[in-house]
């Protein structure tokens, strides 16, 4: 396997009570790229994320990260290897300030997290770093606001700051712009482009404009299987994609209206 491939799956599959949500997925993510995973609702994108990060055990196949088979690892250990995921439903610690959300991530890396006999102001040593991360995502004015009280777009930004605190090698973002207004979408898009420097991003995204702007490579998933692959031009010209994906999206837009 080549040096510049960071993540690879082989015949990855997941069966829920006889229903194959994901089957025979061979995914290849190149180091330093932004790779988008797209497909209609229920295609199995979130399930693939859960399989990659071991939040669900695969029914078949294997996951190779950085040349190493990680199929048998526990989710926390996958994270310790630098593969950090976000969630489709925004994942913050709601009753903690934005600052504390970031500091919890910084604390994990320090090896001091088990110290129950030390005062909590030990965390102050990461204030500067945490403020810098919050500033990076445009949240410096909200450091002391409880995460649960932030607007939806800001929660997503906070999530990215928290993830960045761990300096991930590979970031998995599940629909980072879902449910956002145009302004927030633009801001998050710019943010992802900026944080993708020097690392790899694998993202699930519904907004095709975001995909077109950001993604170097696209994998289209439908009914749990890879339907098409390539850059935006290739994928969007593929008649199979137009039928399966764009067709369903048009229906959806009617349903949403």
């Amino acid at each position: 396997m080549s040096e510049d491939i960071i993540l690879e799956t082989r015949q990855l599959g997941k069966v829920f009570n006889g229903f194959a949500a994901v089957s025979d997925v061979n995914l290849t993510v190149r180091r330093g790229t932004i790779h988008a995973l797209i497909g209609p609702n229920g295609a199995g994108k979130t399930t693939v994320f859960n399989l990659l990060t071991k939040f669900l055990p695969p029914s078949s196949g294997s996951v190779i990260y950085d040349g190493q088979d990680i199929t048998a690892l526990k989710p926390a250990d996958v994270a310790l290897k630098g593969l950090i995921r976000s969630f489709q439903i925004s994942a913050v610690f709601p009753d903690m300030s934005a600052l504390d959300n970031v500091r919890v991530a910084l604390l994990r890396q320090s090896g001091l997290a088990h110290r129950f006999w030390r005062p909590a102001h030990l965390l102050n040593r990461w204030n500067e770093q945490a403020f810098a991360l919050l500033e990076d995502v445009g949240l410096s004015d909200f450091a002391h606001v409880l995460a649960g009280e932030l607007s939806y777009g800001r929660k997503r930004a906070l999530e990215i700051a928290t993830t960045l605190a761990l300096d991930p090698v590979l970031m998995l973002l599940d629909e980072p712009t879902q449910g956002m207004g145009v302004e927030d979408v633009d801001r998050v898009t710019a943010l992802i482009r900026r944080v993708a420097e020097g690392r790899t991003v694998l993202m699930v995204e519904h907004n095709l404009k975001v995909v077109a702007t950001l993604a170097d490579h696209i994998t289209v998933l439908a009914r749990g299987q890879v339907l098409s692959e390539g850059n935006y031009a290739t994928v969007s010209a593929d008649p199979k994609v137009r039928e399966a994906y764009l067709g369903i999206r048009a229906d959806e837009e009617v349903a949403h209206a």
């Binding site: 939040f55 250990d77 950090i84 610690f93 604390l107 994990r108 129950f116 002391h144």
Partner: protein, 333 residues
Amino acid sequence: METLASPSASRLEKRVNHPFVSYLPWLVAAVVCLAAPFLIYPVFVMELLCFALFAAAFNLLLGFGGLLSFGHACFFGGAAYLCGHALKVWGLTPELGIVLATLGAGVLGVLIGMVAIRRQGIYFAMVTLALAQIVFFSCLQLPQTGGEDGLQGIPRGMLFGFIDLSAEVMVAGSKIPLAMYLFVLTLCFGGYWLIWRTVHSPFGVVLKAIRENEPRAISLGYRVDAYKLTAFVLSAMLSGLAGATKALVVGLASLTDVSWHMSGEVVLMTLLGGMGTLLGPVVGAVTVVSLHHELSALGSWVTVTIGVIFVVCVMAFRRGIVGEIAYRMKRSF
């Protein structure tokens, strides 16, 4: 001054950063505890202290770790037996007996914790209950525990080999077991301080994060089971400390201490006082133990009466006594 941007934070900082305000509760508690044995029967005060520590230790797991154990009596009662045996049969000095019993509760905590931690919610409660019942039946069968009679006549002995804990002295016109009282006060305050410290530590912050969003904590690389196990073992050891001290105070370790009634009682104390608050379990323990004491004339109706009081309390203020007061005060700010 409150800015629009950070309404809750500035208020929080103002309260926490004032040194006097953070020491005040400890000061009040010390004064109350030092005055108490002059006003109330000292042995009863010491018993209250032990149960307050037990409930606070239980709350560390339930309120701050988010885990409902239904078997905490096995740590409390198990340590009581071990301490009693160490003092009575092996002739250990009281401080060594208590250290040994606390460590014993810790070992038991590791064993039970490792099995139970992997289960969630009600299954966790059931596993702890089942394992605690094994401890109960062991205590019933073992010849050393005295079976139905319990382990009686546990001597208080000589602290560090030279301070007689059974001695009583006249202070301001009352006869008080001064050395014993101060010893118990030190242990209970020490234990309570450790709980307070744990809640306000880096570890406490991680526990909070796990409670608020476990999948996110995992995705940040926290091995959450290890943190839960640490909380479980700490809680078990502090419950053991409470049980061992109680055995020394009343000179008795009995099946009551290790039975599932006791496990239920500590749940009740914590919920009644307010789980997840530091003071709640103390208030709950004092309330429940005092009620038992006051209502003891009712015989077996005590349980029913306390049960009714509990139900009424839970319906009227589900945050518990202290939780409800704290909530009302916060809202009126």
